[in-house]
């Protein structure tokens, strides 16, 4: 398989070291993988995702995605990179409130200079929300909003789909549906990097689970391999006691 993401000895220090950080993280993710990054609040998992998206820059080390060293890109270059290669799904959806569902979906394509209305409608249909295309976000349920956000993330056929706690703001049933969707996308060959603090969700859908604690990778489990069962990963996360 082809390597898509490589983090080499990445350190990220916020505000002079006062707040959350990554401490010498190295990691490689291959194309087509469904990788989950798990960890408690402040562990550095979202920081890792932001670095991979080119939204933030490492204090030291390198972040290479699809052969592009993101540290060497300027603001405009980073924007172009995200537009061309990244799809981003946020916990709180972040749909633009004054645009309809379809208009939200089309935004990344339009920023790129294309129209893609047909593909936008097609995606909404695939995600089961074609009926809400002309509705504004305020009139959509949380699950529907997240599906719109996923459609938006997919509109430019991204090389990499990043999902930051995509079920965090949803009820259990909607969360499951969203994860099913992501699983389906992965089945179609989409590389997905998922950040979640929910170990069960991660182990149920991801093939690889990376556990982060205090800015360091403390575990990296490939669940397809016979030596690591999901239950073992959950133990590493220390959630067994709460079950």
């Amino acid at each position: 398989m082809t390597e898509l993401i490589r983090l080499t000895d990445v350190t990220k220090v916020y505000q002079g070291g006062i707040t959350g950080a990554l401490n010498g993280v190295s990691l490689a993710v291959e194309k087509g993988e469904f990788t989950a990054i798990m960890g408690p609040s402040g562990s550095g998992k979202s920081t890792m995702l932001n670095l991979v998206a080119g939204l933030d820059r490492p204090t030291s080390g390198t972040v290479v995605v699809g052969g592009t060293d993101l540290g060497k890109l300027g603001e405009a270059g980073s924007a172009r990179f995200r537009r061309d290669h990244i799809g981003f799904v946020f916990q709180f959806f972040y749909l633009l409130p004054n645009l309809t569902a379809l208009e939200n979906v089309l935004i990344p394509a339009q920023l790129k200079g294309g129209a893609a209305t047909g593909r936008g409608r097609e995606l909404l249909e695939q995600l089961g929300i074609k009926d809400v295309a002309d509705r504004y976000p305020a009139r959509l349920s949380g699950g529907q909003q997240q599906r719109v956000a996923i459609a938006r993330a997919l509109i430019n056929n991204p090389t990499l789909l990043l999902a930051d706690e995509p079920t965090g703001a949803l009820d259990t049933q909607s969360g499951e549906q969203v994860m099913e969707l992501l699983g389906g996308l992965h089945g179609g060959g989409q590389t997905i990097l998922l950040v979640t603090h929910d170990a069960k969700l991660a182990t149920r859908h991801a093939a690889r689970v990376i556990s982060v604690m205090d800015g360091k990778i403390v575990d990296d489990a490939r669940l397809e391999s016979p030596e690591r069962a999901p239950s073992e990963v959950i133990r590493v996360r220390g959630e067994e006691a709460t079950r």
Binding site: N50, D56, A76, A79, R80, F88, Y94, P97, I107, L111
Partner: protein, 773 residues
Amino acid sequence: MRAVIVKSLADLRRRRLQAGVIFVTVLFAMAAGTTALTLTSQTRDPYQIAFDKQKGAHLQVAFNAATDQKLLGNTPALIGASSFGGPYPASNIQFRFGDRKYFVDAVGRDNAGGAVEVLSITSGRWPLSNDEIVLTRSFSELNKISVGDRLKVTSVAQTPSLTVVGEAVDIDEGSADLSSQRAWMLPAALPALSTPDSSFYLMDYRFPSDPTSAQLQASIDRLKSGLPPGSVTGSLNYLLIRSIFNITNQILTGVLVAFSVFALAATVAIVATLVTGIVISAYREIGIMRAVGFTPFQVVEVFALQIVIPALAACLIGVPAGTLASQPLLANSSHALGLAYTPTFSIGLDLLFFFGGLLVVAVAAIVPALRAGLLKPIVAITKASVPRGAGGRLLRRAAAYVRFPRPVVLGIGDAFARPLRAILTLVTVLLGVATVVVAVGLPRSFELINNSETGAGNYQVVVIRSNAYPDSEVMRLLKAQPETARVVSIGGQNVIVPGVADPVNTHLFRGDSSRLGYMVVAGRWYTAPGEVVAPAALIRDAHLKIGDSFTGTANGQPLQLRLVGETYDINNLGHSLFMDIATMASVKPAVEPFLYDITLRPSSDVSSYVRRVATAQPDLLDVRASDTSLIAPVKIIDLVLLILAGILAFIGVGGVFNMLLLNTRERVRDTATLKALGMSPRQLIVMVGASAGLLALVGGVVAMPLGLSLHHVLNDAISSSAGNDTPPAAYGVFAAWELIVIPLGGVVVAVAAALIPGRWAARTNVVEVLHAE
């Protein structure tokens, strides 16, 4: 209360830039308003004080030199005057100083005092011998003549010299740049300087109380009927002189009042926009405030104080600044009236405006802040901001339809996403652009009118002859010059017009006067003897309409006249008549031209022409290039307009900037999201700029008709104060392309103003913003 103040001050520190916008806009509005108010309240006072102090004449009448002095001595009783001065012998004389020649009415008086028209000697002394003269200070300053200078009288063959021994302020005549001037000599000096057709007697009358215009006219009528026909040759009343003194300040006051109302309205719009925006973006904060115990009223107080504090600071500086700004204009009035300048203002009015302005700003802040106070805590705390709906959707769709790039489409939609905010912002843009339209248009209208009054482009040289040099000789000399293309000769003769109190100055033309450039407001220029053209004030006072015939009287002899047109002429505030000199053919003694407007052939050298003709008769001819420069009051008005336009344009830009700032801050999460989705910094700046550009375009397009209407109204007001109707040409001073370029200029400025919030948007830290959510 302490908590309210602490929270308000903390918010103020956080919103320093917005506080700065409020401070500057309120400062400008208050300063302009106070200047207008001070001028309005204080302008009448200096004239009235000087008029009382110098025992100004309510009525001054010029009598034919042949009138029996004994009869003149009876005239005060005839019209019920309580005191009088004269009869003073007077003569119109011409003198030369340097290479220029001047006309003044020399009046013979023994001293500067008396029961009426006390002259205030501001430098030098009263004449002690027949070769000494006192000039008005206004005339001396305008023409740079000083005490001790020697003047050569050229209106009599002997050409005697006079020494200027003093300067005086005369309350009974206008300033030198707007009116003809008097000079004073000993009575015994007059005969040697007089010719039969230049002599007259002057009488000053003062009544027990200030008479009305109708009472003044009745007095003139009694004088005319009580004396032999033709005795009354001219008159001047205090109402006209007061208007001449006050005209600049009156126009300025009108302009300042109009624009200070504009500035205050724009400030109110900005304050309301700002508070609305702050309330919207601080929803969660409001919920927290309520949760920790702020009452609804205290929440309102917190938001209102954030505006009132910078507004208070602006009022504290703006009101004194406005009062100070009005002082040079008031000092100028005092100077012209010979009064010692003392700072003039009304503390009561200043305080009233101070608190009034502050109240207006406070109300503008409190009304939108009430929304914050009335918000239910749980609703506020669970929502980060007011949800936005479909605002701007139609515009976005239209923009998308014409295939604008997506950032432009988004920006256009954002401009009207909050309709109230957009409308309030439009108000500031509208007022700014409208003011610019007026500031561009009015000086052009002034210039156009000035050109018509000064013949700019129509004649290049003006010659004035001395009585000692015959008209026929002047014409022979002028026609002998190869560059002379056309000569229009002008004479003057006062005519009594039924219904008009004072005898009316006439412009009697010989030659093609229609080519001198006078503007015809209505009807047509005269084409035959007997036809006359007049400005609006005369037509109104004489109750005439175009086409009417009436009988005038010149030198006691009747003249059949027919009004064929209305023209623009500010002399004597619109009281003059224009006609062919042949109309006066029957009047004895015959009227002869004394002034010659000369049009030169193309490419002629004006200076060499002037030099050559002047050299031919250095004492008896005043030859000069036509002076087409603007008079001082017009320059002052132009300057004030320019400053006001700058202020209002600044407030307009401030309004757009303020709205963009609010939009950018309120939409910081959306901006972060767009950046996360791949919007580049340039695209973000374009998006913000598109919002600003659209608002400025809409504001500008709406502002053009408003500005043009305001230009129209102000033109009318200014023309009316000078006794005229506005000539149609003075309205149409804008080229079609300018009507497009002015709003587009507004768009360029607004887009430039959008660069700052646009760059902020572009620099949004996605991680921090989204993390904070």
